[in-house]
Symmetry: C2
Subunit: 168 residues, 2 copies
DNA sequence: CGTAGAAGCTAGGACATCCAACTATCGGAT
DNA sequence: ATCCGATAGTTGGATGTCCTAGCTTCTACG
């Protein structure tokens, strides 16, 4: 763990000091916010992926699986998946390729539109989704390392940011 | 932009509803927080990278450059860079390889410890760092898409999360 | 109708990140 | 003084994301 040992100070607070020292006060908070976001995401992703690793799926694939899991018919067009998850179509292709290879979903043709491909969740996929979610809930989501108020505040602020960015 | 059109609703709020509907109330907020973090990071990163693209550097490389820019001697060991940025040693190797190829930094041997490699920022690197920072400050950091209070709250909550995770 | 533009999906390429494994060098314990 | 564990850095492999380009299929407009 040589690259991940604890530091004696907060590197982001230090960066903000440097920003201010260079006359960039107006941008210091924004820089700190963006940088914090990067680190926090990295931390959260690492925790989630470590729980999912035994199941042989990544968070990206887990998200696709849950989307299908929650859908009425258990299937969705590739494009809709990309829209919901806000990722590029090629990322969906990639994720579905691997989910399909793992026997968790299968591609089926759309009944009327021959351009679109439907992704159908399989029984094995449902089973994995349920188990992985139980694990994620227990090991990560129920103890995110923040107070309930902080979690709520975080979700609210990020929703504001996402909305402002046209995320929904 | 087919995969990035606006959605008629917040997909994360929808996911939280699903979580609650499946009896996972205790984990719903945590799930929403983690998922929000992923999306928000993606949005922020995209904005930053679009500003940095003309300079031929990515955010990862920009961070390395700024670390060196702020350092007293203009040089740091590879390991220290990894510690500050909380990334693997291999990621540092990768970033420094590209920065060096671009003529922005150069590797130099450590005077006493032959294991360690020092990364030294070059004049061209300093110049690019200064210009790119001006652009980032103007186009992203001074208008993060949130109120000043929200930005401060965000930084505070994320600092709590990072600290709890042993980030510093 | 028939064609041009839009939409859905995939292939190939560029990057970043992580992990496992390997080499070289240090340093402390015996 | 020597040896073994810890440290520094790189290489190779896997994954995910994006972008550009290209193919197929739909749809709307003249």
């Amino acid at each position: 763990m040589t690259a991940r040992d604890d530091l004696p100070f907060d590197p982001i607070a230090e960066a903000r000091r440097q920003w201010a020292a260079h006359g960039w006060e107006a941008a210091a908070d924004g820089m700190a916010a963006v940088t914090s976001l990067m680190r926090a995401q990295q931390i959260a992703l690492a925790r989630v992926e470590s729980v999912l690793r035994p199941y042989g799926v990544t968070f990206a694939r887990y998200e696709v699986l849950m989307l299908l899991y929650f859908s009425r018919t258990g299937s969705l067009p590739m494009t809709k998946i990309g829209n919901r998850l806000q990722v590029h179509a090629t990322s969906v292709t990639n994720a579905v390729d691997r989910l399909e290879a793992a026997g968790l979903v299968k591609r089926t043709p759309h009944p009327t539109d021959r351009r679109t491909t439907l992704v159908q969740i399989l029984d094995q996929g449902r089973e994995l989704a349920a188990k992985a979610t139980d694990d994620l809930n227990a090991q990560v989501f129920t103890k995110p390392g923040l107070s309930a108020e902080s979690v709520a505040a975080l979700v609210a602020v990020l929703a504001e940011l996402r909305h402002e960015a046209g995320d929904f």
